[in-house]
């Protein structure tokens, strides 16, 4: 079954609800960089995040060992999140497509400012869902009211009571 390019808030929420392990490609070893902020935040919200960065392979970021490539990650992961320039996206997506079966990958996520329509088409044809030009931290925050704590317009209108996650 082909995947889809997700833009609807409800679809993005459903994806974030399904995913548990995220490979974070291009995450910086400098804790002050936005990529590092996002990785740490996703960890605090119960996701396992596995860093991929060839220049930092073997080091640790937020307690997780850094791998040189997606293929080097020994465990399964559900999603690939890309913190690289749009021009550099294609080979990463190709690798995700190649590993999709073996690692049980369901989606590719390109961070705010990152888009690659051709790579996205290829990924959906191979059965992966794709999110482009969005921040996982912001999208998670939007659906769990946390974004609103900072005074932001989440666009979420609902009279339903949310379930509280007990740690």
């Amino acid at each position: 079954m082909p995947g889809r390019i997700l833009t609807e808030p409800a679809d993005i929420r459903a994806l974030l609800d399904r995913v548990r392990v995220i490979a974070v490609v291009g995450v910086s070893t400098d804790w002050k960089r936005p990529s590092s902020y996002v990785m740490k935040y996703l960890q605090s919200r119960g996701y396992r995040t596995v860093p991929v960065n060839p220049r930092a392979a073997g080091q640790e970021i937020w307690g997780e060992r850094v791998h040189a490539s997606l293929a080097d990650i020994p465990d399964r992961f559900d999603m690939v999140e890309i913190f690289r320039k749009s021009e550099d996206v294609r080979p990463i997506v190709d690798e995700a497509i190649r590993l999709a079966q073996e690692k049980s990958i369901r989606a590719v996520w390109m961070q705010t400012g990152v888009r690659h329509d051709e790579a996205a088409q290829k990924a959906t044809a191979a059965g992966l869902d794709v999110v482009m030009d969005r921040c996982a931290k912001i999208e998670y925050g939007r659906h769990h009211s946390e974004l609103a704590w900072g005074g932001f317009n989440t666009g979420v209108i609902s009279a339903k009571r949310q379930r509280v996650r007990h740690a």
Partner: protein, 428 residues
């Protein structure tokens, strides 16, 4: 979920989901100052702005946050920052990108208190404020030079009945890489949404129609989320590394959330003009009925203005909703054809007639405010503008004959009857 809901629905629901722990349906008042950290690492993440959450109510508070999201939603903005008053919002709005020597251009057609704030107090910070008649586009073009950081106008001016040509003003500001900041207090998001016309920031005094019952002070700055802070070196406050936050650039780290994040994490942190949770709650209650109230405010004001325009003791009425108003076309374009509920008129009997009128009304309250459920009346020359010369008063639209009304929600026939008996006593 991505369905776009109507204004009335959003005025009630935006920002306010049921409280998840208790199920409380009306927004609870979180009257606390501070919030317990989960552990040391959580505290560090909060102080470094790595995660969402609360530290101290000078910066953010759950009740105030509900109001912020609702206002951002109603204006179609990205985020909002509430403040203790409308004036505090105006200062906070400029703060991220102003510094000594930086220039801001403001309209001469502003609320008098704003003219004083820009012209006197902001100058003490070294912020160079100058004024221009924003109904004269050639003058605005000449005033907004490339070193100007922002142009500040009211969508519907207090009082005056002047409706700004927002699209034209946005074009002029953007050509100079300056921001257009719109005070939308009198129009409210029911009549006008300045972001639809190119505004970059919107401010409100929530003290007026938005809370609506003359019971609560408040202000807000709303960010469109559309400004490219890197477009010029005028916005270093948002692009340069901030040493207090481990050297991050807000624009780079937070993207379109940068302005509102900065307004809380730096602006409210250091200026401290935070909104009280109780006032946020009262304003949320007011907003629930805003669309309904504005409809009636405008309908009542139109009837009162039409009555005054026919009265033999009245020389002129400046109400954008009247068919002979010079701003009728702008009111059609920007205010959905409505004229708001605050306007001025002139008495043939001059200063003395003005004094007699405010002392003879029995239902209109003689006070210095606008945007209340109650109808309000003011004779600026004998009150707010008392210390000025006649020439200064006239330039400010507060000549000896001028009376300002803020038309409330009472039975409109009662309002007209009250003015009728009082105008009879005030003579011509």
């Amino acid at each position: 979920m991505s369905k776009s809901y109507g204004l009335e629905t959003r005025a009630i629901h935006a920002g306010a989901r049921p409280e998840p722990i208790t199920g409380a349906r009306q927004t609870p008042i979180f009257q606390n100052t501070s919030y317990v950290f989960e552990d040391v690492d959580h505290a560090a993440s909060l102080f470094n702005l790595q995660t969402y959450g609360f530290i101290y109510s000078r910066l953010t508070n759950p009740t105030v946050a509900v109001l912020e999201e609702r206002l951002a939603n109603l204006e179609g903005g990205r985020g909002a920052t509430c403040t203790a008053s409308g004036h505090a919002a105006q200062q906070l709005a400029l703060f991220p990108f102003m510094e000594p020597g930086a220039k801001v251009v403001a309209s001469t057609r502003l609320y008098g208190g704003s003219i004083t704030q820009f012209g006197k107090t902001f100058r003490k910070f070294g912020w160079e404020a100058s004024f221009v008649d924003t109904t004269d586009m050639a003058a605005v073009r000449a005033a907004v030079t490339s070193d100007v950081r922002a142009l500040f106008v009211e969508s519907l001016a207090n009082p005056g009945g002047v409706v700004s040509d927002l699209a034209a003003l946005a074009d002029i500001a953007h050509a100079a890489k300056a921001l257009l900041i719109v005070d939308n207090t009198l129009a409210t998001p029911v009549l006008c949404r300045p972001f639809d016309w190119g505004a970059d920031l919107v401010v409100h005094s929530l003290t007026k129609f938005l809370s609506g019952s003359g019971a609560s002070m408040g202000g807000v700055v709303i960010d469109s989320g559309r400004v490219d802070w890197h477009q010029s070196d005028k916005f270093k406050g948002l692009t340069a590394p901030d040493p207090a936050y481990q050297g991050i650039s807000f624009a780079e780290t937070f993207g379109d959330l940068a302005y509102t994040t900065h307004a809380h994490a730096v602006g409210l942190r250091d200026l401290g003009a935070t909104m009280a949770p109780m006032n946020a709650f009262l304003t949320l209650l007011g907003l629930e009925t805003l669309p309904l109230r504005m409809e009636r405010h405008c309908a009542n004001a139109a009837k009162v203005a039409a009555y005054l325009a026919r009265h033999p003791n009245v020389a002129w009425v400046s109400y954008a909703g009247l068919s002979d108003s010079p701003y009728r076309a702008h009111a059609g374009k920007y205010l959905g054809g409505r004229g708001g509920a605050v306007f001025t008129f002139g008495l043939k009997g001059g200063f003395d007639a003005g004094v007699r009128l405010v002392e003879s009304v029995a239902l209109f309250s003689h006070l210095a405010n606008i945007g209340d459920t109650r109808s309000l009346i003011l004779h600026p020359a004998s009150t707010t503008h008392r210390q000025l010369t006649d020439a200064q008063r006239t330039a400010a639209g507060a000549g000896p004959d001028v009376v300002r009304l803020s038309v409330g929600l009472e039975t409109v026939e009662d309002l007209i009857a009250d003015l009728d008996q009082a105008l009879g006593k005030s003579g011509s």
